[in-house]
């Protein structure tokens, strides 16, 4: 088990290096002249050169990356090129917002997605199954952000239920916080619920048709017991689906934060990309991937606990 964990952590570190290096070189390749983007069109070549010197852009790209990585290992993600504030500080400010939305959305997806998927999968062809199939097509056809729009329109503005936009910190007001994250989370979760439900439905149906389920039935076990066996064997899939969903939700959060004016990581990413603020983009990538690696290691531990076959290896 320890060896297994060490291997996972090693793979996670490799992923972290690969992702940040990828972002770094992609950003340098794509944003060929960061000083122009930072200073605007009115800057003189002398001003640009001075800034380039100040940012260390005169050095070879590889040296720049190694320098960054050396500091990052010690938790120093450098200064933003835009504000000259520490990157880590700004990211930490934004994390609670994004994490609130994404976690809440994931909880909703886990709860309702699992419930609907299992109900549909246990009774294929039943009313529940058909409704879920229909809703899947409809929701798949409407991009997540479209739903956010409708939600904003109706619940926030017409019905005066929730504040239309913005984020309230739980430190200021707990109820205000809940009210402010409800709509972004729900609009983010709707697509996730359907995807979780669809995949779980298929998995439950697949397991139900397996040989050992028929053999268990042949020993006279009642339906309720058979269901337990089916669900137990569909559980690893459910956990994997939810963990993978986490990555998807982080991407979706970029759009949702823009719509609801939430000052989260997504918004920071978007504005940093537009301004060519490479240290900030790197910091966001590193923080996100680090977090995801943690999630996946946790996933592996849980799967090892749930699935006897994995436990052995």
């Amino acid at each position: 088990m320890l060896l297994f964990l060490l291997k996972r952590i090693g793979a996670g570190l490799v992923l972290l290096v690969a992702a940040t290096a990828g972002t770094f070189f992609l950003a340098h390749l794509a944003i060929s002249d960061p000083t122009a983007a930072l200073l605007g069109s009115t800057a003189t070549p002398e001003q640009q050169a001075a800034l380039a010197l100040k940012l260390g852009l005169d050095r070879p790209v590889l040296v720049q990356f190694l320098d960054w990585a050396g500091h990052a290992v010690r938790g120093d993600l450098g200064l933003s090129w835009r504000s000259f504030q520490p990157v880590s500080e700004q990211i930490l400010q934004r994390v609670p917002v994004t994490l609130s939305i994404v976690t809440f959305a994931l909880l909703l997806a886990a709860l309702f997605g699992t419930l609907f998927g299992v109900l549909a999968g246990l009774n294929p062809g039943g009313v529940f199954d058909r409704v879920i199939q229909a809703v899947t097509v409809v929701l798949f056809a409407l991009p997540g952000f479209w739903l956010s729009l409708v939600l904003v329109l109706w619940f926030a503005v017409r019905l005066q239920w929730f504040p239309a936009i913005g984020y309230v910190s739980p430190a200021d007001s707990m109820t205000g916080w809940l009210r402010s994250i409800t709509r972004p989370s729900v609009s983010l979760a709707l697509g996730a619920i359907v995807m979780v439900a669809e995949q779980l439905r298929n998995q439950v149906m697949t397991v139900s048709r397996l040989d050992y389920i028929r053999t268990l039935k042949s020993r006279g076990l009642p339906k309720s017991r058979i269901r337990m066996h089916v669900l137990r064997n569909a559980a690893p899939t459910a956990i994997t689906v939810l963990a993978v969903m986490f990555t998807g939700l982080l991407s979706g959060a970029v759009v949702v934060e823009a719509i609801f004016s939430m000052p989260g990581l997504g918004q920071l990413t978007q504005s940093s990309a537009q301004m060519g603020d490479i240290p900030m983009l790197l910091g966001i990538t590193a923080a996100t991937v680090f977090f995801l690696v943690l999630v996946y290691i946790l996933l592996d531990i849980v799967l090892g606990w749930v699935n006897p076959k994995v436990r052995i290896r």
Binding site: A11, L15, A18, A19, G22, T23, L26, A30, S32, A37, P124, G125, V137, V138, F140, A141, L142, P143, G144, F145, W146, L149, L153, V157, D211, Y212, I213, R214, T215, L216, K217, S218, R219, G220, L221, P222, H229, R232, N233, V244, L250, S251, G252, V254, A258, I259, G266, T269, Q270, A273, Q274, L281, I284, T285, T288, V289, L292, P308, K309, I312
Partner: protein, 594 residues
Amino acid sequence: MTSAAPLPVYRRPKPVWRRLVARPVGLAALLVLATLALVAVLAPYLSPKDPNFLDLMNAGAPPDAEHLLGSDSAGRDILSRLIWGSRTTLSGVVITVVTALLAGVPTGMAAGYFGGRTDAFLSWISDVMQAVPAMIILLVVAAGSRSHFVVLMAAVGIIMAPGYFRVARAAARSVSREDYITAAQVAGLGHGVILRRHVAPGILAAVTIQTALAAGIAMGIQAGLQFLGIGQSNVPSWGAMMADGFRFMLTNPWLLFWPSLALGVAIAALALLGSTLADVMRSRSPRPADAAEAVADGATAPATPAPEMDAGAETALRVDNLRVRYRNGGTVTEVVHGISFSVRPGEVLGIVGESGSGKSQTVYSLLDLLPANGASTADGIYLRGKPIHALPEKERARLLGSAFGYVPQEPMSNLDPSYRIGHQLCEPLMVVHGLGRGEARARVRDVLAKVGIRDIDRVMRSYPHEISGGMAQRVLIAGAILGQPSVLLADEPTTALDVTVQAEVLQLLRDLRAETGMALVLITHNFGVVADLCDRVIVMRGGHVIERGPVAEIFAHARHPYTRALIEASADIDTSRRELDRMARRTESEAVQG
């Protein structure tokens, strides 16, 4: 309802596109997409206005004769922008999908075909790509390329490549295990040729379905990017129109409505096309919706209970005119055409035939455990003279485990991988037979000892993957006889085992029969097994019984050429030797008993 469906005649399946068009949903989806493509191609001729012509005087104007759908917040003609937007959407999707195909399919094929390190390496890259949040990468690319349309859409394609990789890998993996691929390798064909000529056609179906879905997802991502304001402002796009509509949705909801409608219809068409394609291309797999009808069909056949006397009190099981039907898509196929047989207590009846002859279906219908799209009818099924064919589903289910025991064919796939063996065996005793935990464990230990397992404690603590195939088959036999059934149905109980273990398992069945006096129905394709164990035999072919009689008689004077062929096929040196062994053992045991 076509309950009296004639016997199926094999017909060459129609080409996929014709079956697709035959379905209303498929036809509708194709028409929508064709229209969209046509509009996109003909945009310069169809568009009534210049989509970028700003007419600030006309900003947000309602529809009129000049602007059929009105104008947007900058006075641009909405209809024209929708038409040109379809061009943007489609060309973007094409770039994305082609990129994803090129990046995902060849790599996926290679990973699935070669396996091993190639697979591990490529799969790792695919996993890494999926682990990085796509939006961050896209935003960086957008910023760097100054939102260059082609570059950005290609980047979306790269991000979507793992989806293709997964599908192509899975399909190539299963194709690679087919016999004809092995044959091609043995024949000395190069990997490149095999991949191109043999593997590629095999994964076509999966990749086609994936493409329909991927195109839909690509549209969504593209619109999302445009909605965020990424993209050149002079390129009309649905996502940008939605962003504009969003700002003015309270005063003029139509600005939001039209692009949303266009996008929604396009993605829905792709999603429906994908699911219909999947249905059509995999039409052999059962569709849940058909199950209810198939079962209803079964109910329409009259079930005439025969007089009790006919059933004969001395038979353990008697079956009259059993038929099994399957419904696939729109066609009903009868796989067992009215077979009858009976077996006495302590007797071993062999049901022999090749795969596809309906042997297993007969067993499942006796257990009432046919798959959801199957149904069976019989004039009569009698268990110790008691009619059970007309019993309600629930009472029929009560016979399982107590009256009927079932030994499956494949030992490893018939044990629940998530539970310890001890739990799997104790559960029915506690739940069905009402034993306490301690009693159940004691009984399981007894039965495991009876089936010849020595280290009982270890086996009970083990998960199925921790024991051998022969051991697993013994566990399954133990599971079947736990409730002391009067009829044991064994479906090819030795096929998956190696020869020495086969002999042990057959011996075990023989001993159990002698000890418990239960009737044994043994399904097999191997006359060697029949000679070893059975008293009487029926030979099945294509769902009919073609020959029946005592084993010795059949071996001596088989009338049907098919039976003779089966006997010859089984009569290798191995089985003859086992036959001799058996006779030796039988004389021995008779001597001991006498």
